[in-house]
Amino acid sequence: MRGLKNPLGIAALVSLVFLLFMVVLGPILWGEEAVRTDTMALTQGVSAAHPMGTDGLGRDVLARVMAASRSSVGLALLATAVAVAGGLLLGALPAVLGRRAAGLLNGFVSLVVAFPGLLIALVLAVVLGSGGRSAAFAIGLASVPAFARLTQTLAASVAGRDFVAAARVLGVGRARMLFRHILPNIGEPLIVQATLGAGGALLAFAALSFLGLGVQAPDYDWGLLLNEGLNRVYVNPAAALAPGIAVVLAGLAFNILGEYAAQVFGGRDTIARAEGRSARPVPGDALIVRDLRVSFGPAVPVKGVSFTVAPGERVGLVGESGSGKSLTALAVAGLVEPPGVVTGTIEAGETAMVFQDPMTSLNPALRVGTQIAEVATTHQRLSRRDAARRAVARLADVHIGAPARVAGQYPHELSGGMRQRAMIAMGLMGAPRLIVADEPTTALDVTVQKQILDLLREASTTSGAAVLLISHDLAVVAQLCSRVLVMYAGVIVEDLTTERLVAGPAHPYTRALLASVPDMSADRSLPLATIHGRMPSPAEPVTGCPFAPRCPRADERCLTAMPPFTSASGGGGVACWHPVRETGGGPVTRPDEEAPDEEDPMRRTR
């Protein structure tokens, strides 16, 4: 019983039992007492004999409320049935009708749906006359447009899917298409909406009866009892509260059932991201990272990363998706949000960030100039006018034509390349010592990619800022960077110059990564080179080298002991028991095999 493990499932079960109990047993247990008049106890307040008092004829209010459950809930269900049936008919018809008729029907539904349901129900109550059943029809018909709209939307979304297109190609008729292919696929959201709709119908029914337009005496439902109770509210407030409480409880029960149905039918996703620690400015290196770890509960996507970036140096951080490279970048910028936990040391000067998607990284509601200028007004205490002037100058620096005009535009008026330039201009507003660029060109087309990379190089040369470029694309990194850090499963496995990367890296993973990049000479008749197997997930405990299961050079030791990161004599280094040495390059010095594992910072995995 998966459903019983979560609180909503339990609440839904309780609601269902509650509703069934009231509807089935309410009239049986309390039906007689509900109509028994007692002239000795007219309009009494709360007492032991009558927990909610009595009404004008001496009938017990509590018994009447309980006995009214069946009619109240039953009529609400009738109204819902009318609404769903009518909505399905009206909403599914356009799928069967011709284009013109369907358009007219859709237009009609969208006009009617604008009116509040209660108002339509009131008008329909005039037409249909008062009484329980006609009120149920009035409420049901009033919610037909909403259900029709829902059906239309759902049917349209299904109609766009591949299997419906395939059925159409096969010449499946419209009606058959509707019943075989479309309706079964929109059933689940409709059930959810119908359950929630039943709660709404219950409340609407109580409202109508309360106004005296629904159930008529001597019949009674919760709405009518509420009306009677309110008339004597100064004598016995409980008589007004009791039916109200019943309505709210039953309404809640329907809502909980609907919520639970929604949870069962469709998964829910939660948003998780948050804020981090500020980076501290330090002299010397542009960035020092020591034993950086980022964990999300049991998952540790970044497992002890250490590196430094010299002033003005352009360093690439590469790796496949999930290697922890983007999280490392966010941690450097202090932007890892709870529940993420960052440990280790990060010493960074003023940092500018350039993000992957220029389409979403600028605030759509603010002018470009405002967004660029506010860095200067908040951090450099510049006046608005000076900051705006500087923003325009920076936009000119990033080669935006008519920078003053662009400053007055909104992000949606700019192209992707222009926005990424604006992001870089924003970063250049201060005096950054480091520009962290997280996949800055991934969302752009190839010609624009090159321009942005050139711009980053230029920005770094003229401002003296170092660049940390995060990318999965070795070609992009090779264009801009002089040094490359290769990340795999949360650790840096190799640190090498771009020349070494091209000439022949030492780590088998870097080699595999390089081999998977197609170039002009690649034989197109062969499949693209891929790396077999998959990267261990951040939550998996890893003993030994994380790449070992996929590595052609791996042996017993690779599977049991994590290779330490060993610095090469000519700078850089590699974490591998069996680095590739044959293709030139300086010898990689490796410590003794007996080196105590405990001292190795890269070994500590949770």
Binding site: L111, A114, F115, P116, L118, L119, L122, V123, V126, V127, G199, L203, A206, A207, L211, G212, L213, L226, G229, L230, V233, P237, A240, L241, G244, V247, V248, G251, N255, I271, A272, R273, A274, L335, P338, P339, M353, F355, D357, T360, S361, L362, N363, P364, A365, L366, R367, Q371, E374, T378, R385, A388, R389, P403, A404, A407, G408, H412, E413, M426
Partner: protein, 342 residues
């Protein structure tokens, strides 16, 4: 759409400035035209529906209104008076002409002109709805934003539970039940606030309970929506950009998050107004408020069709006008919504 130029004293080349401005005005005009057409069509539907209402009632509406004891002569006279003996298309023409001429007929019960009844009662309903709407917007947006700021990521689990629980409960309790509960608590038990005034004058203290009853549910619903919207906005890439700029919280929330929330809040707020209009019918009846809502219910009970028609017309057109206003405001507030259009 005239975009006021930002405070930049950089020389602006006039020709490049003028051309895009003209291009930008065009979709805005088309957008307005589409919205107005939609409004006109909806009004036509509303007028036709209120006219048709009387004609689809089973039996003789005049007989139903006057009761079984009325003499056949009286019924015939009243039928003639109302023009119900004319061909339907002539009746329709008369009705439409009447609506545009401000003549909505007269009550079958009191004989008073319907327009007069509406003019007397409309101000009370409008005041009630406006005050309630103001209360909703003023409380819901800051509440929702604060809740989002507190419960972002996985922080503040208890606060989240409290907020979603309380607002969820308040949002599903219908206004008339809330009204009854408030009467029991504030008027009957504690005797703090007045409920209904039979003498006719409505002082500010009479507004407290009805507006609260009307506003609490929509405010809770809106606050929930604002929180969810705010969570999405706060975790968006551009907010990450803003945090990367190390902006103080005030700028972060007020300048970067709020404008992106307002469009959503306003859309839902607009939808809530139609709900408020419907809810006011009930609340007015609970508090014996001298507005249109109680007039409508009385007229329905008395089968006083001309009054029902008139009041429904007023309610319906109010809802349509609000929807139109929200769409126009959205077009101005959110520079993108004029472009992406159904």
């Amino acid at each position: 759409m005239a975009v006021p130029s930002p405070p930049l004293d950089h020389p602006v080349p006039p020709p490049t400035e003028a051309a895009p401005a003209r291009e930008r005005r065009h979709p805005w005009v088309a957008y307005l035209a589409r919205r107005l057409l939609r409004f006109v069509l909806s009004m036509a539907l509303l007028i036709t529906a209120t006219f048709g209402m009387v004609h689809v009632i089973p039996g003789d509406p005049v007989r139903a209104a006057l009761g079984v004891t009325a003499s056949p002569e009286l019924v015939a006279a009243r039928t003639h008076e109302l023009g119900l003996d004319l061909p339907v298309w002539q009746q329709y023409a008369r009705y439409v002409a009447g609506v545009f001429g401000g003549d909505l007929g007269s009550s079958m019960v009191s004989g008073l002109p319907v327009a007069q009844t509406i003019a007397d009662r409309l101000p009370y309903t409008v005041m009630l709805a406006l005050v309630a709407f103001a209360v909703v917007m003023i409380t819901a947006v800051p509440l929702g934003m604060a809740a989002a700021a507190w419960t972002r990521g996985s922080r503040g689990r208890a606060a989240e539970l409290l907020f979603t629980g309380a607002s969820g409960l308040l949002a599903v309790v219908p206004e008339f039940l809330l009204a009854v509960a408030m009467i029991v608590v504030f008027a009957v038990t504690w005797e703090l606030l007045p409920v209904a005034n039979v003498s006719g004058s409505v002082t500010p203290s009479y507004y407290v309970l009805p507006t609260l009853a009307l506003a609490v549910g929509p405010a809770a619903a809106l606050a929930r929506i604002v929180r969810v919207e705010a969570l999405a906005v706060l975790s968006s890439d551009y907010m990450r950009t803003a945090r990367a700029k190390r902006l103080p919280a005030r700028l972060l929330y007020l300048r970067h998050a709020l404008p992106n929330l307002l469009t959503g809040a306003l859309t839902i707020g607009g939808l809530l107004i139609s709900g408020l209009v419907a809810g006011s019918v009930l609340v007015e009846n609970v508090f014996v408020w001298p507005g249109l809502g109680s007039a409508l219910v009385d007229a329905i009970k008395a089968k006083d069709f001309p009054v029902v028609q008139g009041v429904v017309l007023v309610y319906g057109s109010a809802v349509l006008l609000v929807n139109l206003a929200v769409d126009v405001a959205l077009g101005r507030l959110d520079p993108r919504s004029t472009i992406k259009e159904d």
